[in-house]
């Protein structure tokens, strides 16, 4: 009997979930800033944020390795803070998926924020509300569909991450061998049935989650 390789699939979900949460935390405020035409250096920042979408994953992985490797600035800072080594840990897999997938969230959410008529936050200002309150009660709800679409794309990209992940996290069974890496390993080793089952599992899980997100982001009733 062929056992379904559950740990890699579960690890993929875990990594993609964290990468999406990180993308939301960092990407939403960033998208909102980029949606403001008055932001200085907006074009340069846009290019920097979108770069991971077009760079070859190995190049992305290389730069990430330069940053979080034991000699890199982030890697050294993490060790100095007693957090230990980052490379070849699940954290590195999350970081790789985050860097590769966050631009999708920023892009979609930025379009959503730009689509919010500025008269709405202006009206809220004249009604005595502060900026954070306006952002939470007006801007985010009105950009909701784009944000959910961005989450779906981010999650899908994160769960399929391969190139950067294998460079910074490797393929350690049970620790950093995510679903997409395990499929590759199975194929390399000629274990085609395992590869087939795992690929199917990954495809079905991703499709299921995207389906759920599509329903959440359906056209609102206003």
């Amino acid at each position: 009997m062929i056992a379904v390789d559950l740990p890699p699939l579960a690890l993929s979900l875990w990594v993609a979930l964290w990468a999406t949460v990180l993308s939301l935390g960092v990407g939403l405020p960033l998208a909102w800033l980029l949606a403001r035409r008055t932001l200085p250096g907006r074009d340069l920042l846009t290019v920097l944020i979108l770069l991971p979408m077009v760079l070859p994953p190995t190049v992305l992985g290389y730069y990430l390795l330069v940053m979080i490797g034991t000699g890199g600035p982030v890697g050294r800072a993490a060790e100095a803070l007693g957090l230990g080594r980052i490379v070849f840990t699940p954290t590195a897999a999350v970081l790789a998926a985050f860097v590769a997938s966050a631009p999708f969230l920023v892009r979609a959410a930025q379009a959503g924020f730009e689509g919010v008529d500025p008269a709405f936050p202006d009206a809220a200002r004249t009604l005595g509300r502060g900026e954070l309150s306006i952002w939470l009660t007006i801007t985010v709800p009105l950009a909701w569909r784009s944000i959910v679409a961005g989450v779906a794309l981010t999650f899908a990209r994160a769960i399929g991450e391969f190139g950067a992940t294998i460079m910074v996290a490797g393929s350690i069974p049970g620790r950093t061998r995510t679903g997409s890496i395990a499929v590759y390993d199975h194929v390399q080793a000629g274990r085609m049935e395992e590869a087939h089952l795992l690929a199917l599992g990954l495809a079905l899980t991703t499709a299921g989650i995207l389906f759920l997100l599509t329903r959440v982001g359906r056209a609102p009733g206003w």
Partner: protein
């Protein structure tokens, strides 16, 4: 300069601003209940209104509402929109599409507790003839109903001044007449001073006590509406009034 009067004017404005190549240089004061800013498109009416509301970052000058300074750039004072106590009804009403009528009207009442907020919203909806509309979304309202919701929302926090940007532009002739009367009545009942931006002379004639004629970012003439309409002080003012 806007001088200090013994009894404070309802509104004193002395503003200079630049947006691209457009220059706004507006100076007027009004003690009237309803002040109309009248002029052709591109005269700077809406920009003036946005400056009064505190929604424009640039520019310099002085704005006083009922003697209270809300802006005096030379003294480093620019009270943010949320603290100005100046309500505004936007041209397309800007009702929050994801909130129902009750939530829209109650949006500016976050300082009240739940019960007080509910009571205030209920009384405003009844004043505006909007009972039974509380659960509707803006998309389910007619143009006239939207305008009444926008008015109720702007009046809810009891502003010291209410700005209206082309309040009747989006409405057809008959609805416009009814709402104009309703607005006049509302002003008499609440006593809140109104500043109305319009390009329709009919609005000016029927609603305003004080008229500010604007063209190309400047005040062409200002004074009591009747006097100004009956006897325009310059050929330029005459041309603006005659354009309608």
């Amino acid at each position: 300069m806007v001088g200090r009067a013994a009894a404070p004017h309802v509104l004193e404005v002395d503003l200079r601003a630049r947006v691209g190549t457009f220059r706004l240089e507006v100076r007027f004061r009004s003690s009237a209940g309803v002040t109309a800013l009248f002029g052709p498109s591109g005269a700077g009416k809406t920009l003036t209104l946005r400056h009064l509301a505190g929604l424009e970052a640039g520019g310099e000058g002085v704005v006083r509402v009922g003697g209270r300074v809300v802006e005096d750039t030379a003294a480093g004072i620019r009270i943010p929109a949320r603290e100005r106590r100046i309500g505004m009804v936007f041209q397309e009403y800007a009702l929050f599409p994801h909130l129902n009528v009750r939530e829209n009207v109650g949006y500016g009442l976050q300082n009240l507790d739940r019960e007080a907020r509910r009571a205030r919203v209920r009384s405003l909806l009844s004043e505006m003839g909007l009972e039974g509309f509380g659960h509707r979304r803006p998309a389910q309202l007619s143009g006239g109903e939207k305008q009444r919701v926008a008015l109720a929302r702007a009046l809810a926090p009891e502003p010291d001044l209410l700005l209206l940007d082309e309040p009747f532009a989006a409405l057809d002739f008959r609805v416009r007449r009814g709402l104009r009367e309703a607005l006049g009545e509302l002003h008499r009942r609440t006593g809140v001073p109104l500043v109305l931006v319009t390009h329709l002379l009919e609005d000016v004639r029927r609603l305003s006590d004080h008229l500010v004629l604007l063209d190309q970012g400047r005040v062409v003439a200002a004074g009591p509406t009747r006097t100004l309409l009956a006897d325009p002080p310059s050929p330029e003012a005459q041309a603006l009034i005659g354009e309608e």
